[in-house]
Symmetry: C2
Subunit: 147 residues, 2 copies
DNA sequence: CTTGACTCTAGAGTTAACTCTAGGGTTTAC
DNA sequence: GTAAACCCTAGAGTTAACTCTAGAGTCAAG
């Protein structure tokens, strides 16, 4: 019955900007919809579903390129589970190594913060001898930090 | 004695590109060095130290803008510890919340992966009934994931 | 004095995922 | 029939932190 909803409506429904919708179309995530006589895009409800798919997949850390692949898999109703599994594995290992990196960072920052705090306590009213954290950064310790 | 080292040498010493060095200068992280008659930059050893400072601070997750502040603090030999502490606190809380986000993600991805695996086992030779992960993404569950 | 390695500046290009603009045309409600 | 609200395209702008280019000048060795 509904002859198709226009881009603004779809954008409001899905909670994205109209520019983003056109952008997804250009990137091949959304199929290009039929047009009205005047050239307006006329979307159908499936497109709203695709938009939600996109946002959900994004929240799982997939890039638009990856989401495009997922959407294509989904549309062709091919098996695809193997491919999806591989994507999930890759993402999972990315996420895990990022967590490890961040934990190491956390430890370093926390240690710096403790030093900072100690110096601030020590130097109440006394002559400051300089921030220990800055000193540490400046001391070329030749510690080859990763990237 | 050394009248100053040129940009290529400095770059090799510090392990960064010469373009990055000029870039840091433009961004105010490195002081602009004196020039030779022909207009070549003549750096002194302190600049190598600053470059190492930059790389180390970057590895701690500071942005160039933040590093510029840190370098300025360090140069003016002002107390500064309070400011540094605040920066460290902010970074630390950023890092911690990022870790939490990633852990939530990890759980979701791992759960998807398990489902995927189960389906693959189940459907050995049997008709595939479609990837459960794709299904889940497509089902507009209205779960408002953050962003 | 010529060759090759080096350096200079200004500015464009890179990546991701949008976001916005200019300069138009279309629909619809009054 | 006209004004408000909507839509179109093509392309520029955004962010961070570089990276690279073109076209020209400089320096050291032989």
């Amino acid at each position: 019955m509904s002859a198709g909803v226009r881009i603004g409506q779809l954008a409001r429904n899905a909670g994205v900007g109209i520019h983003a919708i056109r952008f997804y179309e250009r990137r091949g995530l959304l199929r290009r919809p039929p047009r009205s006589e005047g050239g307006y895009r006329l979307f159908d409800p499936d497109d709203a579903r695709d938009l939600k798919f996109i946002r959900k997949a994004q929240s799982l850390g997939f890039s638009l390129a990856e989401i495009r692949e997922l959407l294509i898999l989904e549309r062709t109703s091919a098996p695809g589970c193997v491919h999806v599994r591989d994507l999930l594995r890759r993402k999972l290992s990315d996420v895990r190594s990022k967590i490890e990196e961040l934990k190491a960072l956390e430890a370093q920052l926390a240690s710096g913060l403790r030093k900072c705090q100690r110096e601030l306590n020590r130097s109440r009213g006394q002559p400051e001898k300089g921030c220990p954290v800055l000193k540490e950064l400046a001391d070329a310790k030749e510690s080859e930090d990763s990237k």
